[in-house]
Amino acid sequence: MGHTLSVRQLEAWYGSNQTLKGINMEIASNHVTAIIGPSGCGKSTFVRCINRMHETLPGSKVKGEIILDGESIYEQDPVVLRKMVGMVFQKPNPFPSMSIYENVVAGVRLNGMRNKKTLQDIAEKSLRMAALWDEVKDRLNYSGMSLSGGQQQRLCIARALAVEPSVLLMDEPASALDPIATMHIEGLVRQLKEDYTILIVTHNMQQAARIADSTAFFLNGELVEHGPTSEIFTNPNDKRTEDYITGRFG
């Protein structure tokens, strides 16, 4: 099951540049939430705060609170937190020297799992959830790099799912893919929300409209508006949201 996330008064800086200004947001479990906004609006910083990746950058700073399933993420070990919060990046990034199978179980192995049968079960389950199993089951020992871009991205999703997170963060997961691979990933995201809380960053507004249950619009480090996707795209409350989604600025 996915967990809810509560973000309270979140502020983030890169050096002296404040990229997030007092974000308050509730992210529902088993729900796809899309973050949209122009470049530099803080949307990627926002998701990177959620798995505590932002603070690993030199000169960065974070203030405020993020509560995951009732517990502040800043009171947790970042390594444990990242098991609960999986991340998929813009460019598919399978480990180049590893086979498909090894890629999927890499995280689980890192966590200490050695039992071969268990690892095989996890690999199959994760690849099935990522809708990739049927395409790769006969060549699990091939290099991860032998797959197409869309398949590589689903491999990365399988890798993220293998450690059984409750939240899945996706930063532009389909922007490097062709339309057919994009539709595959979008279909997958919709299936995955049955089991996960999904937060997807995209500057492709149409994609947000297609797959998200709720959409949040960020601008200049502020959360302008967050609501049901059908409302954001038919009757937004804030003029800045309307201007952005209708292509009148940004």
């Binding site: 279909g187 409209a209 297609r210």
Partner: protein, 216 residues
């Protein structure tokens, strides 16, 4: 692939089907009222129109949502645009049914003759509406094209109704008012059938992106 769009299209088919069932229920009720000349019943059916209007709004809202969030193109877009137009046709058909109940409000009984062709017109027009909606749901061009043939039959019945009423009105000037009202009813049912042909025209538009006049 494109599951939300496909699901949305199924929702539209279902909504239009239910809207059609509502129009059917109301037209049947209004026809019953015309035969019994029961004014209380007429008022009941006039109030029922709101339900059809609610359906029209629901269809429109779903179409707007799908266009805004799913970016439909080509046939997908034609299906959604057509759903909006069909809901408008069904809403008008509901209004025409209600117009019959409004005639009952003003009509003094008893009926100048037993109604024969008018109930047949109503039955045929309803059949056309259902056939149009079935053609929309199954994208069946043959069913859509067949509506033109049936519309000719309804037009033929309408002419016969007018001619019969004219003869009666000439013979008995005291029933002139009722004769006029009944010819209006015939006109409403003929218009009802015309809207059913519009549904068929939308089906052809969905399938071919071309226009065809089924109501010549």
């Amino acid at each position: 692939m494109r599951q939300p769009l496909n699901e949305g299209q199924l929702v539209l088919i279902e909504l239009l089907k239910k809207m059609g069932e509502e129009v059917e229920r109301i037209l049947k009720g209004c026809m019953q009222t015309l035969i019994s000349l029961d004014r209380a019943q007429a008022e009941f059916w006039i109030a029922e129109d709101q339900k059809i209007n609610d359906f029209e709004r629901q269809v429109d809202d779903e179409c707007v949502r799908l266009i805004a969030t799913q970016q439909p193109v080509a046939k997908d877009l034609r299906k959604i645009i057509s759903a909006m137009k069909i809901s408008t046709d069904l809403e008008r058909m509901g209004d025409l049914a209600i117009d019959i109940a409004k005639i009952v409000r003003r009509m003094e009984g008893p009926l100048l003759k037993q109604l024969v062709d008018i109930p047949i017109m109503a039955e045929k027009a309803l059949g056309m509406m259902k056939q149009g909606l079935e053609a929309y749901a199954s994208e069946d061009m043959e069913l859509a094209n067949d509506l033109a043939v049936q519309d000719d039959q309804v037009d033929h019945l309408y002419k016969r109704v007018l001619r019969d009423l004219l003869v009666i009105m000439m013979e008995k000037p005291e029933v002139l008012d009722q004769g006029m009202y009944l010819s209006f009813v015939g006109r409403y049912l003929e218009r009802f059938a015309d809207h059913a042909t519009n549904i068929g025209e939308n089906v052809i538009y969905i399938a071919t992106a071309g226009r065809q006049d089924l109501n010549k």
